[in-house]
Symmetry: C2
Subunit: 261 residues, 2 copies
Amino acid sequence: MTGAGDSTNAAEQPRSLNFRLTLEYDGTDFRGWQLQAEGQRTVQGVVEAAIERVTGTFCRIHGAGRTDAGVHAQGQVASVRIPTRLGTDDLRRALNANLPADVAVVDAAEVDDAFHARFSALGKVYRYRVWNGAIRSPLRARATHAEPRPLDIEQMSLAAKWLVGRHDFSSFQAAGTEVDSAVRTLTRFEIDGHRGDEIAFEVAGEGFLRHMVRNLVGTLLEVGRGRREAAQMAQILAARDRTQAGPTAPACGLTLIEVKY
Amino acid sequence: MTGAGDSTNAAEQPRSLNFRLTLEYDGTDFRGWQLQAEGQRTVQGVVEAAIERVTGTFCRIHGAGRTDAGVHAQGQVASVRIPTRLGTDDLRRALNANLPADVAVVDAAEVDDAFHARFSALGKVYRYRVWNGAIRSPLRARATHAEPRPLDIEQMSLAAKWLVGRHDFSSFQAAGTEVDSAVRTLTRFEIDGHRGDEIAFEVAGEGFLRHMVRNLVGTLLEVGRGRREAAQMAQILAARDRTQAGPTAPACGLTLIEVKY
């Protein structure tokens, strides 16, 4: 073997550099971000495989957020130490040439050794898209959740206001999850109904529990349909009981837009 | 069998009505519109199968345009005679419940017996989307053609002006196609570069030859890259020779937006 094979020669092995990779992916055909049992296609798996093909070395990557199966990303961030002499532009190009059509490295930067995509993150922004047309839309099916029943955007916006701030979000975390604390801070929760039949929920926060965004949206959709009052959000938060909130909205509508550092 | 099976009873068979179905589909996973060899998944095939499941009767549908494999539609139109007592709303709902996620009937209307989706059509509107970002975008990969090289929108718009009007489009039809006349009329050809890194080509005309839109766009992209002059369009049209025009742009960027009657 030549090329990539040469770089495995210990005498020539370049020093490992710490990289921040910004990733965009269509989550539809992935079993989520994180490595699963053998044979499951995950974003982490295909990116690690591309790095190994490009550098000849296996490098473990660390994602800022473990997106679920079917969840998309416009700006997921991963950190990884790679022994390479490639510049960041060449590394990005080489990785993209080795990645499938549904995932791409949209930015690569060399970062300080202390940088870790997950532990250094200060916040995240998610967008949840709902197709509210009377008839489902095949051209939007992969990236939106279809809810044909009328939704009251004003009431959903009022309900979202109750959720902004520092709260115990136990009622909105995936059942059976164990975390030290379910206290999280949401800095923004906006609902944009000015895109025709599409409604976009945009939520920013310092951190999120498992399924939290999807559970928040699932509950707001019940408000939108008139099944709950906006002010009920305060009681649901206070209950710290998953059964008090609405259902988990489907994964396909959710996109991780940005990770803040 | 009960239900659908009952309607095949000749004594009870309702009169066949002529319907106009407006269809939206994501063409990525179809081998185009038209029925192919056994086992090929086509839009016509899945819609005819849905009609048969709903009505218990096989009914041949006629599409306004035979979109190629990978081409999408927001407003494809099909006509079909169906022996049914269902109203148009119930028919639409029943068909959508029996269609896969990547195709839907967005409108169903009962029409005069003389209506034929293809022969009654007065014109069509297509949109071709190009992702002109430096880095490919997985979230747009299914519905755009990625061209990372810089494109001069002003020059492409100038070139498009030469194409509007009544011309012999032999130079832009699929090689090996036999038609009586390649004379067609384009009524509009606009290029919208105001969507960030996305460029949309919108073309309207009374009729189109096979691969015509994709060949027109493929040629305009060469103008955009500075490989051809805008005024060359006149010579290419006059040549009536497919080898004089540019390559066929990939199917994935093309969407049939509307059929006019």
